[in-house]
Amino acid sequence: MSGAASALFLLDIKGRVLIWRDYRGDVSAVQAERFFTKLIEKEGDPQSQDPVVYDNGVTYMFIQHNNVYLMMATRQNCNAASLLFFLHRVVDVFKHYFEELEEESLRDNFVVVYELLDEIMDFGYPQFTEATILTEYIKTDAYRMEVTQKPPMAVTNAVSWRSEGIVYKKNEVFLDVVESVNMLVNSNGQIIRSDVVGALKMRTYLSGMPECKLGLNDRVLLEAQGRTTKGKAIDLDDIKFHQCVRLARFENDRTISFIPPDGSFDLMTYRLSAQVKPLIWVEAQIERHSRSRIEMMVKSRSQFKERSTATNVEIEVPVPSDATNPNIRTSMGSASYAPEKDALVWKIKSFPGGKEYMMRAELTLPSIRSEDAPPERKAPIRVKFEIPYFTVSGIQVRYLKIIEKSGYQSLPWVRYITVAGEYELRM
């Protein structure tokens, strides 16, 4: 990375400094705070909300997490992307320590925060950001001092993301295949953009140094092995792996082999840009009766196989911001008016495949509109859902082998789920 960061700030929601670590001594906290509070005040102005801003020789890069801002300051021509990635990693580290990163958890743990800030970066250069490794340097109160300190193993270890000597009574692995569907449908009902972003999320509770091997129904692999593809084989577009996966090995023969870190991590992510049929289709008919009343009829249809069921479906239908007195009826689920979103929110707990439900609503509009009311923003219909035991891509885990030299038996658990990502249907 070119250039080094000058300081890392943790700020509260109003932009006041909670805690900061000065790495190079060339930026001032007072100045940073003054600048940042001003920046946050301008919230209404969307032009000024870039996450990378320049002020008086200093560049500030920030991200928000809950009610905390994490901000990097630098005077050099730093690697912006890399530092933003770094900040997100810092959030992960904090979450590992405090369960959740928020103002309160920081205030309760000043000492640990300082220790962490010291180890993740030195003089503006990122060092270790693997939570499991950092645990060895930093002993929170949960870890009382017992045995004599050994030098942290990871540093001298060939496998930097896992330390030796981990022991579990019951050896288990949980693998979640999560696919999130992004969908954009225009007002004519045409799909103009769709893609699927998938992730294999793993939680490992394994002893020792287990060697894992994962088999997927990857077309390239199956064809290379000369197998006639019985089931469905799939093409994965752009695969990215956790650093524990031996990339060279994958390049050679498409085997996914790795020694996993302890705890949870994303083993692999991928993207499919193939055209996907909208899993849940929503249509809205809107009738405006003069200026006083608006009538809506919303139809939703599930377009997947009957044996699957979507759960926690939430359909957000936008209504004019000055609408009142909603009168809503649904053939399934419940719907309510959410004025803060200027929308009707229709919730359906369970939505089996191949079904169609309706919602009718009537709202009153004021007969007089104020002159300087902001022009109406035509928002799209937005849908949220989860479909368990189902993947759009058809990805399948064929096997997950775990081999450890002690030869213990371990239990791999695999789950599939599809969720809605950015799922928009324009009206």
Partner: protein, 840 residues
Amino acid sequence: MAPPPAYQTQRSHSSSPSQPSGKSEVSDLKLQLRQLAGSVAPGANDSKRELFKKVISYMTVGIDVSSVFSEMVMCSATSDIVLKKMCYLYVGNYAKYNPDLALLTINFLQRDCKDQDPMIRGLALRSLCSLRVANLVEYLIGPLGSGLKDSSAYVRTVAAVGVLKLYHISAATCIEADFPAMLKHLMLNDRDAQVVANCLSALQEIWSSEASSSEVASREIDTLLSKPVIYYLLNRIREFSEWAQCLVLELVAKYVPSDTNEIFDIMNLLEDRLQHANGAVVLATIKVFMQLTLSMTDVHQQVYERIKAPLITLVSTGGPEQSYAVLSHLHLLVMRAPMLFSSDYKHFYCYYNEPTYVKKLKLEMLTAVANENNTYEIVTELCEYVANVDIPIARESIRAVGKIALQQYDVNAIVDRLLQFLEMEKDHVTAETLVLIKDLLRKYPQWSQDCIAVVGSISSKNVQEPTAKAALIWMLGEYAQDMADAPYILGSLIDNWEEEDSAEVRLHLLTATMKCFFRRPPETQKALGAALAAGIADFHQDVHDRALFYYRLLQQNISVAESVVNPPKQAVSVFADTQSGEIKDRIFDEFNSLSVVYQKPSYMFTDKEHRGPFEFSDELGNLSIGESADSVIPVERVEANDKDLLLSKSEKEESGVSGNNAVAYSTPVHDASSGPLVALDTQPVAQAPQATIAIDDLLGLSFTAPAPAASQLAPPPLKLNAKAVMDPGTFQQKWRQLPISISQAFQMAPQGVAALTTPQSLLWHMQGYSIHCIASGGQAPNFKYFFFAQKAEEPSTFLVECIINTSSCKAQIKIKADDQSSSQAFSDFFQSALSKFGTA
């Protein structure tokens, strides 16, 4: 660390009421600490920890707890690592403001640096180096030296960065203790990857800031970029942490492979890095690929194809800030090669909830990738944004539609769309569209009929924004003959002259009324009279002057007035581009940095002392251009003005005139000789030799060999183009791409060295031999030049780096050539030209 005192008082008010702010709590703490200091009772450490924690949280919320300094130090004489850490933290915070206290802690830290626990050794060393107190540096040398040799990797990583910290406190001490050499040894031999990485970042920083003054350092930088080092690091790349991998990749991007095989080897080795989960690694790898293949057009294109998917995935995963950073880079690539992305336009469609900064970038990319095949769909999508989303984006979208129209694709349909925008009757949409239609008409006058019909129906009352109003008025004037009520609309606008705040609008109103008058005199006469009267009475100087000017023109001769105010116009073919290609290239060179996000090169937003590690790729960077390395401006200037000089040369030329040889630099002469640098294609360089001689005579260099002599010296095989030109950007790029074909050192004639009082004296001389200087710099005894020359009959060029040491009378040259076969001939020619320097 906690903030400095001034800031602390302010903070203490905002902290929650339960937190103490008074002195009593602090003195209470002091007492308790003192009681515990010597205690070895069981549980003493636990109570100490509680107290220490209290101290730290007071410190953080901004209460001054510096008074318990000595107690803290006393209490931490223990083996409890948690206590130690808290104490180091405390010390690090207060030492800077209380150097006396810092001195107190030196002993205790030094002792801990020898502790048997490596954690404590490392932590103590880090705290010691972070004290930032200049008069304590002598205490750092011992612990740092042993830290670098420590058996624990943790301590060594800390020590490597520690050396860098020492360098920033006192560069001289660091160099004297020979730490850089130790770091280098460690970097090449340590088995721990993080140690290697930290050594690398420390060395990069140290050497690049040393390079301006020491030749050893600049040679060390060359070593860092040499094949053995690069290969050593590449071979270990998998051992590095993800951040360290980025560091190594950044270095590799600056490496110049000797042949194409090497390029492919490196790319094959790094191929799998594109699948790394960390986006930073992926981006760094992309940079390597792009830089390596710059000179291989077809492979370069393949690289684009290869990196597309990973980039697009990175955009759609992770938070909006990450996508923004990645999109900025994608944006840069799209702008460089729009056609390669023309089929991926759907990825740039915006979602409703995306932040404005993301949408803006996407809109720009959509505009860039539009071509015959996708324009219809892209414009349809853009039209959705005009109607749907927030106002700034609606405006941007209209502008995007307009830009696409100006790129000439499917103008017909787009004009229709634009006209539909006007029918939406939203003020901001109308305003933005009017401005665009005006630009469109300037480029495509043939559309006037369609546009005018619609524009004519817009009520000027609905248009409030000055630029939009001005556009509307311009159209009224320009197409007065086609719009039936143009004179009357103008008339009513003039009636409201007083209420019009914008001078720009009033100026346009004057001109438009004039134009209208020439076409339809009887209808407009009254309005024009009113306009001129109002204009002359206007308080705004420009408006007043223009009105008066028109008035007098009309008095003089109406037909002349018409030819002045409304001459026949030609359609605009190209609107001025806002960013030069050179700047774009520079940003591209700084791929993976803030430059890309800001869309400007780093010299525009960083100050010189923080420009970060020396950009190795810019070997020119360290030098200044041509004669700007004059003797009045000392070294620091030379090192500071670096890269930007290559771009903003013109104003520097002026400053070159002063100095001890100022007499000699008569202005015209100076201009001619700086021709190749300033106005590369306008200034003929031909006169340069004569001019040069004149100067040298004046300088008493008694140099007489005129340009023709050059051709006698070098018989036919090598004829050089006396008017060769090359811009610094091209030079830099070539220098990076070409391999060194000849590298030689030789003795210089003493009289040559004697004549070399200032770097520029040699430039004049070499120019006489058709060898042009692109950059020079340095101070006695070391001078460094970059020359180039071009063959007379073909565009093949030679690039030369020449380092002259006047004290040892040695010259060192590196020659790179397009045509390797003739480089020996050129080298001989160059040396003979150089040997004539100073002789008569």
